[in-house]
Amino acid sequence: MNNEIAEQIKGMLVERLRIPADELEYDSELFGEDIGLDSIDSIEIIVGIENLFGVDLSGSGATREDFRSIETLTAFVEAHKEG
């Protein structure tokens, strides 16, 4: 896993979604019991990822599984990031 990307995604989640940083691990279930995100949060994540990496999650076919954790989001960004 690219730690630099993961750290950027974590920072974005903390800032945009006010998730307490100390509760957020790379493998925390974002939409499950751990963090409890919902559909509004997922829209915010799409915008946050696009702003950070220019990767359009909704346009590049990201699935529910890709939104599972910072790890899966990082993998998706790595696979779709240009250059």
């Binding site: 979604l17 006010r18 307490p20 509004i40 949060d41 829209i43 915010e44």
Partner: protein
């Protein structure tokens, strides 16, 4: 009994994208003429949707461009309603007329102007700053027309317009007024456009409610109705359009933006309105639906209507939003005007935009409901209903009729008590120079509030949540399936979520309308705090937020008392809440209210549990004090172009009213919890009035010396401290008093329980 008083509609006023007055709008609606076009108010190039339903009149053509566009639209519709009702605003009647207006986005147009100036490094225009909060709208409209009755701004997002009508009939039936201009107004705004765009809730093209349901199209406008007691209308020889029967207000306790998919909250509110009106479901002939065009709304609303009206053979339903767009806080009021016109003229407006193919699908899914698509229906109807459902899970419903019917509001007058108090107050912070509250996460965790929920709440909502759950705890109330429907919430605020509004607006000025935050937008609505409180606690009853100046915290007690008096609820949480952030510091400093020798800002939230005698007795509740009298008053004496004016006459009348209601004399009262805040002119005015009215020996307690000017939280705190003093034997009786803009005063008299 309180339900004897007939309420009637005697005047109508309307402005929206399909017309500048009632006749134009109703003709256009019947002819299926849509007002949706490419949005012109701001540049939408970078957005995925470009549509809006904007009013044709320019700012200059609305009250000469001197007001925020939301207020100016309200002035336009109010003017038509006054004329239509045949009221001479220079006559004695004008002094009785109260103004109750709903709004969602309030002065968003001025928020944008102000922060655009600031972003350029300029000094912000003070007139824009003063017009930003919802708190000033009704007062400004009342002052404009010399209406001297009380005011309230109902800020329950998209249900606000319907709720203001509901409040008007409650006040009339509760003996607190005879005639009101009630409705709602909202302008088109980059704030709302960006917010709904961020939520992906805007339709890519013209909205299509109950059809393609791929989103809303935003609109703007205002609807104002003259709501009057029947006796008052007859006495002045007014033409009567129809009766207003019962209304209903409820909360979903589910989600901050989405309605419950099972429609429970919507069905509760429709049931309440039908029941309060003394009707059966099958009596309702026409429903003007909320029908926004989002999939979530349309699905749950269709389900609610089909479930409740299963036995109706002749029910007609339509959503006029396909033509007017969604006018947010004005929507309920605009649709109330259409609903009244439909009733009176026997012509029901359609939902437009259905193709032949769409019509086939509609017929299959609407079952026994006659869904009016594309073409109006001519039909003699007797009982008609208008529904509004809002962010925060707020639902409101109201019934208009050709006859007075026999209502089902059989709540005998009961004594009301304060049975719980929850406080969050600020402590002086040297660094900030304000009184700041402690909102550590652990305080919430102690009550089982999860961080996944708490992170969504802005500061205002956190303050509100903490005082709310502390009040329930103090009262010994556990919300459960048995009582969730008989507990309600009434919140007063001066500034609401101005920090969230300002930060959202600053963000889109910086990054573009297309870059608004989906996460932040729900917290820009004034009733988010009340919505979160209902979600966290499970409270499903009445839910209203009033933004009406510093006195809002005490006015919330009056509105809560009203909700209990009509048997809507047994228990109400009445709160006053305001925050103090860097944004508030900047605003009050720019206004020139803070600084050396002036007021010091504070923040906080105080929630009092107000409960009826029988419920308190059944629970064996602790009783702090008895509410012996409550009154709001206002007048237009002095320079009414100055909405910061004070009125000795209005303040004295509030004091006289509460004493009369409590059967007491001025000499019985030894202590006042006053509103003085360090601004010399206000403090002197207040002391002079009390000394004149009560004599030199009156003790005046000024809590803002210890907690700062926490605005609505302060007025709630005055009330709560008085209740505690009485409970702990320090006082026999006392009055809490506060003020709002446009010379509005509210007083509550408390005595031993």
């Amino acid at each position: 009994m309180l339900n004897e008083k007939r309420c009637v509609i005697t005047g109508l006023g309307l402005v929206c994208a399909i017309g500048d007055n009632v006749d134009e709008c109703f003709d256009a609606a019947l002819n299926g003429k849509s007002g949706i076009a490419d949005a012109k108010s701001f540049d939408t190039t970078e957005c995925y949707s470009h549509k809006g339903a904007e009013v044709r009149l320019s700012d200059e053509e609305l009250a000469g461009g001197k007001y925020d566009r939301t207020t100016a639209l309200g002035i336009k519709a109010a003017g038509e309603a006054i004329k239509d009702a045949g009221i001479d605003m220079d006559s004695e009647v004008a002094s009785e007329i109260g103004v109750l207006l709903g709004s969602c986005i309030a002065g968003a147009a001025c928020v944008e102007k102000y922060y655009k100036q600031k972003a350029k490094g300029e000094k912000g225009d003070i007139s824009n700053l003063k017009a930003m909060p919802a708190s000033v709208i009704a007062g400004n409209v009342a002052d404009y027309y010399n209406a001297g009755g009380i005011t309230a701004n109902i800020v329950n997002a998209c249900a606000a317009g319907t709720l203001s009508l509901s409040l008007a009939i409650d006040l009339i039936r509760g003996g607190k007024g005879e005639i009101f201009l009630a409705g709602g107004c909202d302008s088109f705004s980059s704030l709302a456009y960006s917010g709904f765009h961020a939520l992906r809730a805007l339709a890519p093209s013209d909205c299509s409610p109950f059809n393609h349901s791929d989103g809303i199209t935003l609109g703007e406008g205002a609807g104002v109705l003259v709501v009057e007691s029947y006796e008052h209308a007859v006495k002045r020889g007014a033409r009567i359009y129809c009766d207003v029967l019962g209304s209903g207000v409820s909360s979903d306790a589910y989600h901050i933006t989405a309605p419950r998919p099972d429609g429970e909250g919507q069905m509760n509110v429709i049931t309440r309105a039908v029941k309060n009106s003394g009707l059966k479901f099958s009596d309702i002939d026409y429903v003007n639906a909320h029908g926004t065009g989002t999939a979530k709304n349309d699905e749950s609303e269709f389900l609610s209507l089909k479930t409740l009206f299963e036995g109706s053979k002749d029910l007609y339903v339509s959503s006029t939003k396909s033509m007017t767009g969604h006018c947010l806080g004005a929507a309920g009021a605009i649709e109330a005007v259409f609903t009244v016109k439909a009733l009176v003229e026997g012509k029901l407006p359609p939902t437009t935009g259905y193709s032949e193919e769409d019509l086939k699908v509609l017929e299959e899914k609407s079952g026994s409901i006659n869904f009016i698509a594309n073409k109006p229906v001519t039909k003699d109807v007797n009982y008609v209903m208008s529904n509004s459902f809002a962010f925060g899970g707020n639902n409101a419903s109201i019934v208009f009729a050709k006859d007075p019917n026999v209502l089902n509001l059989t709540c005998p007058k009961q004594s009301l008590y304060v049975t719980g108090i929850g406080m969050v107050n600020g402590e002086y912070n040297e660094e900030k120079g304000d009184y700041i509250a402690n909102l550590d996460t652990d305080l919430f965790k102690a009550y089982g509030v999860k961080s996944a929920f708490l992170r969504k709440l802005d500061r205002l909502s956190q303050l509100q949540l903490l005082s709310g759950i502390r009040a329930l705890e103090d009262a010994g109330i556990t919300v459960n399936e048995e009582n969730e429907g008989v507990i309600g919430i009434c919140i007063g605020t001066n500034d609401g979520p101005m920090t969230e509004i300002a930060n959202f607006q600053k963000g889109i000025i910086r990054d573009g309308i297309e870059k608004g935050s989906a996460f932040a937008f729900p917290n820009t609505v004034y009733n988010a705090a009340g919505g979160y409180l209902s979600i966290a606690t499970g409270i499903k009853g009445y839910n209203v937020t009033i933004a009406n100046g510093f006195q809002s915290g005490i006015q919330s007690v009056c509105a809560a008392a009203g909700a209990i008096m009509f048997g809507y609820e047994s228990i109400m949480l009445a709160s006053g809440t305001d925050e103090c952030t860097d944004i508030d510091d900047e605003i009050f400093s720019d206004l020139g209210f803070t600084g050396e020798g002036k007021m010091t800002l504070g923040e906080g939230s105080v929630t009092c549990v107000i409960e009826k005698d029988s419920s308190a007795a059944e629970r064996g509740a602790k009783r702090y004090a008895k509410i012996a009298g409550f009154s709001s008053t206002r007048d237009t004496s002095g320079d009414r172009s100055d909405n910061s004016r004070m009125s000795e006459k209005a303040l004295i009348r509030a004091l006289e009213n509460v004493l009369e209601e409590g059967g007491m004399k001025a000499s019985d009262v030894k202590c006042i919890y006053g509103f003085g805040n360090g601004i010399e002119s206000i403090d002197k005015f207040e002391m002079d009035v009390y000394k004149k009215f009560f004599g030199d020996d009156i003790e005046v307690k000024l809590i803002k010396k210890e907690y700062g000017e926490a605005r609505a939280a302060s007025s709630s705190l005055q009330f709560a401290m008085l209740a505690k003093d009485i409970h702990e034997g320090r006082l026999e009786t006392g009055i809490a008093v506060s003020y709002g803009t446009s010379a509005l005063y509210t007083a509550v008299l408390l005595t031993r329980a």
